[in-house]
Amino acid sequence: MPGVSLTINDKKVRVPAGTTILEAARELNITIPTLCHDKRLSPFGACRLCVVEVRGRKNLPAACVTPVEEGMTVLTESPAVVEARRTIIELLLANHPLDCLTCEKSGNCRLQDYAYRYGVKRTPFEGTRDQLPLDDNNPFIIRDPNKCILCGKCVRACQEIRGQAVLGFAFRGPATRVVPPLDVSLGESDCVFCQNCVAVCPTGALRDKYLAGKGRWWEFQPEAVTCPFCANGCHFYLLRKEGKVVAVAAGGAAPGRPMCLRGRLALTLIFCEEPPQPQIKTEKGFAAVSWTEALGLEELAGKLWPK
């Protein structure tokens, strides 16, 4: 078989040329932590949590963007790697509100998972922990810039999956933030609330507003469903709590097609015990509308039930 042979943590593996170290490690069931990586999105290499040691290299390359080379020897949990990962987690926590007790994302947060995995109980660093205002003047998404770790997944999801490019990076250095154009709120921006960004956010920076207060992640029994409203088949999760479906969470877009608001709303209408009143964006803000209008079915409804 043509390909590249390498050794990861003393285990040999043969993978096709062009494979990344991260993918090769997955072949061996070796989990390398990642925050900014998502195989559906373009390679970014920003969080640096996936760094590994490669024998003979001075630096620690990021596994998610480094292609394998013949004869490479990789260590994924060497002392240098663990030191780097711990330091990176500590650095992120220095500017992260540590309110896991009440954070909606708790239990489903990558940052929390990795802090646990590497035993980071507290950070020796004093960050600025800016108190940026919460962006929640829309019915669908809560954007908490204080919890953003700038992994850029939402930026790429918005641009690459949806083609919307509402989210982008602004400012420089420690002041860098992810913002809609001109730093307006999501409600004022061209956001269509597809929730592709929410689905990829590894922390509590982007959250489904409808989920707020509905329960903790470990109380839900998520059931994966495929959206039946078009031929593409995006992924959603029905979140059951005590047997009742309390919410529909965005899972991920189908290849070649972004998840859409319509699909999510329709699923919510079908499966949720208490579906929320849909809202539509007008020039004056969001206004409650009927489900028929929200789903764009007035013409059909008019034919079925003529007045």
Binding site: A62, E83, T87, L150, F171, R172, T176
Partner: protein, 592 residues
Amino acid sequence: MGRILVCAGTGCVASHSRQVTARLKAALHAHHLEERFQVDNTGCHGFCEQGPLVIIEPEGILYCRVREEDVEAIVTEHLEQGRLVERLLYQDPVTKEKIAAYNQIKFYRQQSRHVLKNCGHINPENIDAYLAVEGYQGLKKALALPREEVINIIKESGLRGRGGAGFPTGLKWEYTFKAPGDRKYVVCNADEGDPGAFMDRSVLEGDPHAVLEGMLIAAYAIGAREGYIYVRAEYPLAVQRLRIALAQARERGFCGERILGTDFSCELYIREGAGAFVCGEETALLASIQGERGMPRPRPPFPARQGLWGQPTNINNVETYANVPLILRRGAGWYASLGTEKSKGTKIFALTGKVKNTGLVEVPMGITLREIIFNIGGGILEDRGFKAVQIGGPSGGCLPAEHLDLPVDYDSLTAAGAMMGSGGLVVMDDSTCMVEVARFFLNFTQAESCGKCTPCREGIQQMLAILTRITRGQGREGDLEQLERLARVIKGTALCGLGQTAPNPVLSTLRYFRAEYEAHIRDHRCPAKSCRELLTYHIDPDKCNGCTRCRRRCPAGAISGEAREPHTIDLELCARCGTCLDLCRQKAIYVE
């Protein structure tokens, strides 16, 4: 016919050289000397501190710091009566001797000016001036050779990238040449951002055609038909001269369709940067040219395979391209005879700081730091003690006196904990606090981090916070270990060169001046007496005559004492402003 060359580089323009030019022209007219003398502007001589500079040719007499009022004296005394205007001549800072001839000044005499040869001697806005000094002969020669042969010449010359990392230029060209793709690009990195470095600006302002010629040769060699010059918008004069040069080169058929009547066509464009330091990093630069946010991306793929618009792209910086026509004209063998085994040719340094002669210095690779600082630079200002030299800009390191005899080449500098970088050389005397120096450079890099990768964005911020605490006397046990850990992680894991090299100022000062850090943390003392929060002001009762000057003027009201009795300073109230120190005629006030 005599020529009067007035420098019109940014430094001299800022000190009113344009007015000097205008006044000279008017005076020549008034004295009916227009037939005998012609006034011309040149680019930067790299001796900006002495500007505005005026050179009278053919004798090559240099007048320094020429003001408008001095023009009359130059015209009446020098031009009419053939007498030197003594007071405007350059004075050697060491021997105090007045030196008339440009080429006799030690600052210039000890340099090997090849790349800078035309800077300050030809009019950069006139292509004929460039053609008169063998301009575009290198391109002509290259176009007569097969592409592979041009690449071979560059490889044999041993030229390495002058942007900092020192990658072999010929090899880079070869990779781009061999990369699959029928659309290829050449890009010139003119986003010179290191504080204090201005060699690229000087070349662009003083000899823009050399850069264009270098780019065109590269374009021919790799098979590119288009190129971009990414230049800082903060260099308006350089941009203007480039535009003029480009228009003239197009008009004369050196650029554009069917260059010099051959099948080779190449168009060059200018792109102005928006002032981000990180855009000097090649992948961020390419993103910026494409209209995206200037953020680096992981490599591979390297630009040689996938660069601008995803196509094979050769990126070199200004100084690298400016070397290329020379190599073509004078041959790879000649070029390789300059410099050391692994670092060939010359390098331009921007010599600044506490040194007598400041300015641009072009020297062969392998020269020692001592020669640059003490011979060309004339030694330390006020003959104070040499403490360190910061080399390589914010990514470089500080080298102490024991490294003064280090040969300046890529590999020796890196081994010593510094780097060539773009060639900034900041000389520091014994009044410089090395902790403060490290803090200063990290303050720059943290603000200029693009914010993409965690170690750079968050880590440098934390290193800066620790350094700031130390310089304020709030250092803690364990701070140095914390700094070292952060430096190790940032260096090892950051995405691009900016982050990977940002800890260098801290690491090199910790390596050579650790005791100074410890004095700040443990004894709350700044040995260089520079960190304000750590200083205490005292009055020597034996010297104080109770004149009350300091007491009356102390803004904090911290000084007390009866007239004609020794005064005292209340350290609780003292704001450490130093007013008393400046006022005291008895030199009774001292700092600890």
